[in-house]
Subunit: 108 residues, 2 copies
DNA sequence: GCTTACGGTAAGTCAAGACTAACGGTTTGT
DNA sequence: ACAAACCGTTAGTCTTGACTTACCGTAAGC
């Protein structure tokens, strides 16, 4: 099971989001990802590790290169979290409105 | 305009997510939010500030109390970010598949 | 006016983690 | 076998930011 909390933790860092965004461009090697970024290649490696552990990235070994790509499971998990949160927020709003209405009826 | 990046930064902290989740239960004072959490009231205050600045929370002053609730704009911004990301990921996958197919045709 | 409750802010501490430099392992090519 | 390319990992540094304590302002109740 992939945790949305882990995904949120992983996406809480700006440079990690940069790395994550570059994964959209298809299978990219670590070197390619690091080029154009302001951090070193090992830093990118570590960010990729976090993204992978969070279910946001997958690796494919090809010779001496490691091609990273986006793991859609992490995105799905995130979407599920967001949808659930949204639902509970709305029902809470509804209940609060009902409580308000009941209070109104009482006072008049 | 509300930035999804700010929202992601804000939700990158576990205890801040706890605070955020408690906001669903309707209008809650800072005291009420802090009760049941393992951190002090000032810590909660600071988290609420971050959430508010990120467009994830709104305040309503009622006497000496401040009632916090969820700002749906932050959630919408987050959803937009997620949707856009998803779209671009899919189109990238599609293009990659096309490139793969073209490569296949060439080699045979 | 005094007291009490509520909560934002400042100062200071401390731990988490982002980063670099250096190293080592593995694969490919000559 | 040697060299080169690629990349993960470790050790160590340094910044960020989460937290507490203490303080101050404000609003309601007596």
């Amino acid at each position: 099971m992939i945790s949305a909390e882990r995904a949120l933790d992983a996406l809480g860092d700006p440079t990690r989001r940069m790395v994550f965004r570059r994964l959209r461009e298809g299978n990219r090697s670590v070197q390619e990802i690091a080029d154009g970024l302001e951090v070193s290649r090992p830093a990118v490696s570590q960010h990729l590790r976090v993204l992978k552990d969070a279910g946001l990235a997958v690796v494919r070994i090809e010779g001496t290169r490691r091609l990273y790509a986006i793991d859609t499971r992490g995105l799905e998990s995130l979407r599920g979290w967001l949808d659930g949160f949204w639902d509970k927020t709305l029902t809470a709003f509804k209940h609060a409105a009902e409580r308000e209405a009941a209070k109104e009826r009482k006072t008049r």
